[in-house]
Structure formats: structure tokens, C-alpha cells
């Protein structure tokens, strides 16, 4: 208990030492010409008590970073600091972090309670205390009466919660979660998202959450790092990532974006750089617009009915397709094949870099 109490009382003073620091972290699989740089120079610091997401498509290196923090993989370069202490070469059993695995990895030959007690038993916690803490933890994940079951007698969501209890009962400094909701169906996943956030707030432990689902990352995290090709493209709060994507990749991967190529941007804003604008920022207008808005005309290619909104696809003069999400009742006089004028506020369009900047890291 003492650790989690300490977390709350000395929060300010701890801010100087991040929970996790990754310095120039690299991982290369194989050697010579066949080698693959799974992680190619990652710098990152994750603060105490954060719900931090590593977001990226499969093969972007996010899971490898997580496995290196856990100690399952040894980095081929760089360093990992846990609360300021270098753990780069420490084996997993010496690190004060615990993991929730994608396939849960519950021990099939042990009961739910024995699974949860496993870590405490290894650390020689006395039997009575071990039992009490396991029961408390199972209670906390609403599985109090399931202690004597075997994992194969539980549903996917219940196994997920056992895996969470088994990790949290050890009161780790950091909890690593490797796409833990991937195997659950949509409804359960949404429930678990809320539950995970609540649990994280209650225990105050730093969560590092790997996911390829941008919705999940945006809705749960305090900060997000977007991965691509073994590097970080952007780090920021969900709002920063969504509203100000700094690269073309982030703009396209997180939510939907319209990319305005450099020549078009030159024409619209007078800057020869690629810009991005979100479809929900674009309106379909009748004719004149004020100076604070940019407007462009094109031919309506397609109208997709989404319920409350419609997604209108417009092809403009230079061949670029723009998507606009407009309220379904605001589509008067717009039809496929006809022309439409699109407009968006100047501040809604952002310059995005073609690729990541040299550091590609944390600020």
C-alpha cells in the first residue's frame, strides 16, 4: 500500500523523475541484410500516474517497445530508465513492472485465485496476506466469487479482468497493457475501456497501453505516442494529436483527414506546404464566405448517409478529393454530379510534415 500512497502525496516532487524514460531505444531483429529495425530510435518520457497510449498500425514497433520495457526483449541500442533507474539489461523478474498480455496468458493449470496469488507467492508474501490481497483484487475487478474456477471456465471479459487483477495485485510501478481489449467484442470492449480508466484512476499506477485502435487511444489516454515504422511520429494529448496532427501519417491514421497538397495550399493559403483539415470542419456553403474562411468549389462525387451526418466527397479542380461531414439537414441543393462550394475556417487547416522530424520524440 505504501507505494500507492506515496504516489499521491509526493506527486509534485516526483514529477522531476518520469516513471519511464526511453533514450534512443532501438531493436533490430536478425543481422546483416535481412535485419529489420522494429524500433528505430525512440525517445520518450512517461510521467508518474499517466495513462499513456502507444498507438500505431501493426508492425510499427509499439509492441516491441512495450516488450522491451517489460524486459522480454533486450534492446540493441539505447536505454530504459524506470523511475530514473537504468533497467535496460535487467531480466523481467527483477523489474517493478507488470504486464497484461494480449492473450491474457493465464496459467491454465491454476485456479483464478492461484493465478492472482502467483506473483505474491513468488515474492514470498505470507499466505494470509497473499490470500487477503488476492481476494481484494478479485473483488475490485468484480470477480469475487470466481476464485475457485479455472481460467477455461471464464468468458473472455472475465479472463481479461483476472489478467488485470493478477498484474495489479503486485502493485507495480508501471502496468503495461498489450492490446488487452483486442480479443473482446465491441460492446465488452467499450465497457472495459471505461472500467480500465476507472481502475487506473483508483490505483494511481502509471498505465502504458498499446493499441492500434485510434478511438481507444483518444478516449482513454492522458497522452498518446503515435508510432510508424519503428519511430514516434508525434507525442501529445489526444486533443493535440487530433486537432494538430504534426505529420501526414498522424493526420491520416488518427481520425479522417483531408490532405491538401502543397500546390493547392499555395493557391489557398499562399504557403507551399501540405496542409490537413478535418472533414467535420468543412461546411457546404451556398456562395459568399467571409475572409476568415477559405473556400473552394468542386464536383460532388458521392454522398454517404451516416445518420446524423452525411459525408460528401467533392472533387476539386486539381483532382484532389475532399471529404466534408455535414449535418444531414444542411444538404439542400447538393446532389451527386452537381457542384458544391466547400468552406472551412482558416485556423482549421494545419501544416503537416511529409515525414517525421529528425528527433521525432518527446518534448
Amino acid at each position: 500500500m505504501s507505494e500507492s500512497v506515496a504516489l499521491h502525496t509526493t506527486n509534485d516532487e516526483k514529477r522531476s523523475t518520469p516513471a519511464i524514460q526511453l533514450v534512443g531505444l532501438r531493436k533490430q531483429f536478425g543481422a546483416g541484410e535481412l535485419s529489420v529495425h522494429a524500433v528505430d530510435g525512440v525517445d520518450l518520457s512517461i510521467e508518474e500516474g499517466e495513462f499513456f497510449s502507444l498507438l500505431g498500425p501493426s508492425g510499427s514497433g509499439k509492441t516491441t517497445v512495450l516488450r522491451m520495457i517489460a524486459g522480454f526483449e533486450l534492446p540493441t541500442g539505447g536505454a530504459i530508465l524506470l523511475q530514473g533507474k537504468d533497467v535496460t539489461t535487467q531480466p523481467p523478474y527483477d523489474r517493478d513492472v507488470n504486464t497484461v498480455f494480449q492473450d491474457y496468458a493465464l496459467f491454465p493449470h491454476l485456479t483464478v485465485r492461484q493465478n492472482v496469488e502467483y506473483g505474491l507467492k513468488v515474492k514470498k508474501v505470507p499466505k494470509a496476506e497473499r490470500r487477503r490481497r488476492a481476494e481484494e483484487m478479485l473483488e475490485a475487478v468484480r470477480l469475487g466469487s470466481y476464485g475457485n474456477r479455472k481460467p477455461n471456465q471464464l468468458s473472455g471479459g472475465q479472463r481479461q479482468r483476472v489478467a488485470l487483477a493478477r498484474a495489479l495485485v503486485n502493485r507495480p510501478k508501471v502496468l503495461l497493457l498489450d492490446e488487452p481489449l483486442g480479443a473482446l467484442d465491441l460492446k465488452l470492449r467499450e465497457e472495459m475501456q471505461v472500467e480500465l480508466k476507472t481502475i487506473q484512476r483508483d490505483v494511481g499506477i502509471t498505465f502504458v497501453f498499446v493499441t492500434h485502435d485510434q478511438g481507444e487511444a483518444l478516449s482513454m489516454s492522458s497522452r498518446v505516442a503515435v508510432f510508424n515504422h519503428g519511430r514516434i511520429e508525434q507525442v501529445g494529448t489526444p486533443r493535440e494529436i487530433y486537432d494538430h496532427p504534426s505529420t501526414m501519417f498522424v493526420a491520416g491514421f488518427v481520425g479522417t483527414s483531408n490532405l491538401l497538397p502543397a500546390p493547392l495550399s499555395q493557391e489557398l493559403f499562399g504557403v507551399f506546404r501540405t496542409h490537413s483539415v478535418r472533414p467535420e470542419r468543412i461546411r457546404v456553403v451556398q456562395q459568399t464566405v467571409s475572409d476568415v474562411e477559405v473556400s473552394v468549389e468542386g464536383v460532388v462525387d458521392d454522398i454517404q448517409y451516416l445518420g446524423a451526418d452525411c459525408r460528401v466527397r467533392v472533387r476539386i479542380a486539381d483532382g484532389t478529393h475532399l471529404l466534408a461531414n455535414v449535418p444531414s439537414d444542411g444538404l439542400v441543393g447538393v446532389a451527386v454530379g452537381g457542384t458544391a462550394r466547400l468552406a472551412w475556417p482558416r485556423f482549421a487547416a494545419f501544416e503537416v510534415a511529409e515525414t517525421i522530424t529528425s528527433e521525432g520524440g518527446d518534448q
Binding site: 522480454f72 523481467p92 523478474y93 504486464t99 498480455f101 493449470h109 502467483y118 513468488v122 498484474a167 503486485n170
Partner: protein
């Protein structure tokens, strides 16, 4: 697309039957129809032949062997007669008879050898299987599996004679010149266990090792690598992970492998003759073969109930360890 056009007149049929029945008439269509919806026919046609084989040829021959224990020996032909008797059974299980006690003692020793062989097979198989399944690269993995299976492809007698040549003591039939004037081991290393108990154990381990490696390898292959990660993540050092996660999960596979190594060793009577010059009575199978089988088949059959008892006990013990759970 072209087919569709060809069968254009059947279009209405396609619509009505979900497109399936419109398949052009097939040579096996009648057969398919006959099987459709008749589960019993499917079971009978696939399971019938193997089941008949098992019952008639395999089980049948064993039952016949046991049956012969209940008939008197015809003193003239030296074969079982058709006169029923309990005498053979009573003789074989009369533990007050010193001869029976000697025989049982040989059997106990044989079971001991089989157990040693089983334990050695396990000790060799486990690290090999672990390496192949969890550590080795794919092409190395294949190489090792092939190497492990190789002994299965060679003839039994070939392997037997090979080992006879390996362990042959100095001055023996396979004498070579080298460090020693014995077989390969003596000639190369100047040391050989010679013929006898040690040679029998080594040879049997060599013979039955693949039967232990394969189930353990399969068991490890089924085991998710994240289970091992999870144990380490929760603070378990490698030995602890082995003891508390790998071993319990592998128990069914180990038990299944040990059934092969134990029962095959228990029943073997050729290896003991090949690498055990002179002491024919050392292994039970050899004893049955040389002293009981030829002169008195019914009595020998009665004696085989002893090892049958041991094997049944062994199987029951292994069943408790879950040997049959993954079948």
C-alpha cells in the same frame, strides 16, 4: 462465368436452392446424396475398417495369447491342447514357489531398467524439445527434429547390431584397433561399458528416445510463449517458471511419452540378448522367450499376466497425471 451461361436453363433452380444444387452432375453425386444427413453411415464407413482391424487382429491376438494360458500343454506336440485348466495361472502366481519368485524378481529388475530408461529419456528429451520448440531458429529446428526421428527409420536389428559393435568389449567379435582393441567406444575413447546392464540401458534409451521427445515437443509447442513471459513478469526466475508453469503443463505429455518408453523397454527381449552376452535371464522378455516360451507356451502365457499387471498399474498412474487428456 462461362459455366453460368452454359447452365442458363437452370437459372430458376439456382435461385431456389441457393446455387448449390446447380452444380453440374458429378460422378459422386449419388454417393454424396447417400451420405448427406446420415451420420451413422459416415461414422461406419470411416471408423469401421480401423475398428475391425483393432478388434480382430490386434486385441484378438493378445486375447488369444491370454487364452492359451488356460489350456494344458500337450506333452507330445509341445503346443496348447484343448483341455481347460487353471493350473498354469496357479503355477505362475504361486509366489511360494522359489522359481516363480525368481521370475518375479527378474520382472521387478526389468521394471527397474524400464524406469531408468524412462527417466533418462525424459532427462535427455526435455532440454532438446525445449530448445527445438522455444529457442532454435526454424531451419535448425527442422534439422534437429529430423535427427531425433532418424533412429525410427532404421531397422530394429540394424540399430541393435550397431550398438553391439559400439559397446563391444576388448577382444570381442567387433574388435578394432585404436586406443583399445574393443568396439567403437573402446577403440575411440579407451572405455566401454561392455555387454551388460549399462549397455542395455544405453541402447534402450537410444531406441525409445524419439517416443519421449515427440510428445514433449508437441506439448511445448502447444504452450503459448506468453505463459513463460507472464511467469517471468510476475517475478519468477527461470527455475521457478520451469517448476511452477512448464512442468505442470507438460505433465500429460511427459506421462504419455513415458508410457511408450516404459512399456517398450519392459517388453523388449532382443536388445538384452544383443548387448548382454551370456546373462539371458536379466530381462523378463528374454526369460519368457528363452526358458518358458519354447518349452511351455501356456505357462509362459500365464507368466505374461505379471507384466500386464505392471503395465496396467503404470497406465492408471499415468492417467492420474493426465496422460490421456490431450489425445
Amino acid at each position: 462465368m462461362g459455366e453460368r451461361l452454359e447452365h442458363a436453363p437452370n437459372l430458376t433452380e439456382i435461385d431456389l436452392t441457393d446455387g448449390r444444387a446447380s452444380e453440374p452432375s458429378h460422378p459422386f453425386r449419388g454417393v454424396n446424396r447417400a451420405f448427406h444427413g446420415r451420420r451413422g453411415l459416415g461414422v461406419a464407413s470411416t471408423l469401421g475398417a480401423p475398428l475391425a482391424w483393432m478388434l480382430l487382429v490386434y486385441i484378438g491376438s493378445l486375447v488369444l495369447l491370454v487364452f492359451s494360458a488356460f489350456y494344458e500343454l500337450d506333452p507330445i506336440t509341445q503346443k496348447p491342447s484343448d483341455t481347460f485348466t487353471w493350473d498354469n495361472i496357479l503355477a505362475a502366481f504361486n509366489i511360494f514357489d522359489p522359481a516363480v519368485r525368481d521370475t518375479v524378481w527378474v520382472l521387478v529388475r526389468t521394471a527397474g531398467v524400464a524406469l531408468i530408461v524412462t527417466v533418462l529419456c525424459f532427462l535427455i528429451a526435455l532440454p532438446v524439445a525445449f530448445f527445438v520448440s522455444k529457442v532454435a531458429w526454424r531451419w535448425i529446428r527442422r534439422g534437429i527434429i529430423v535427427a531425433m526421428l532418424m533412429p525410427l527409420w532404421a531397422g530394429y536389428l540394424v540399430k541393435g547390431y550397431a550398438w553391439r559393435a559400439m559397446v563391444s568389449p576388448s577382444g570381442g567379435k567387433f574388435a578394432a584397433t585404436g586406443k583399445g582393441d574393443g568396439g567403437f567406444l573402446d577403440a575411440t575413447f579407451g572405455w566401454t561399458p561392455g555387454y551388460g546392464r549399462t549397455a542395455i540401458i544405453i541402447t534402450l534409451v537410444y531406441f525409445w528416445l524419439p517416443y519421449m521427445v515427440l510428445p514433449i515437443y508437441a506439448g511445448l509447442d502447444r504452450m503459448s510463449p506468453s505463459l513463460l513471459d507472464a511467469a517471468g513478469d510476475l517475478g519468477a526466475k527461470p527455475m521457478r517458471t520451469f517448476r511452477s508453469v512448464i512442468l505442470p503443463l507438460l505433465m500429460p505429455a511427459i506421462a504419455a511419452g513415458s508410457i511408450f518408453t516404459f512399456s517398450l523397454s519392459l517388453g523388449d527381449y532382443i536388445v538384452p540378448q544383443m548387448v548382454n552376452n551370456g546373462k539371458e535371464k536379466f530381462m523378463f522378455g528374454t526369460l519368457i522367450n528363452s526358458t518358458l516360451g519354447a518349452p511351455n507356451q501356456p505357462l509362459a502365457a500365464a507368466y505374461t499376466l505379471w507384466p500386464l499387471l505392471i503395465v496396467i498399474l503404470y497406465l492408471l498412474a499415468m492417467k492420474r497425471l493426465g496422460a490421456f487428456e490431450n489425445l
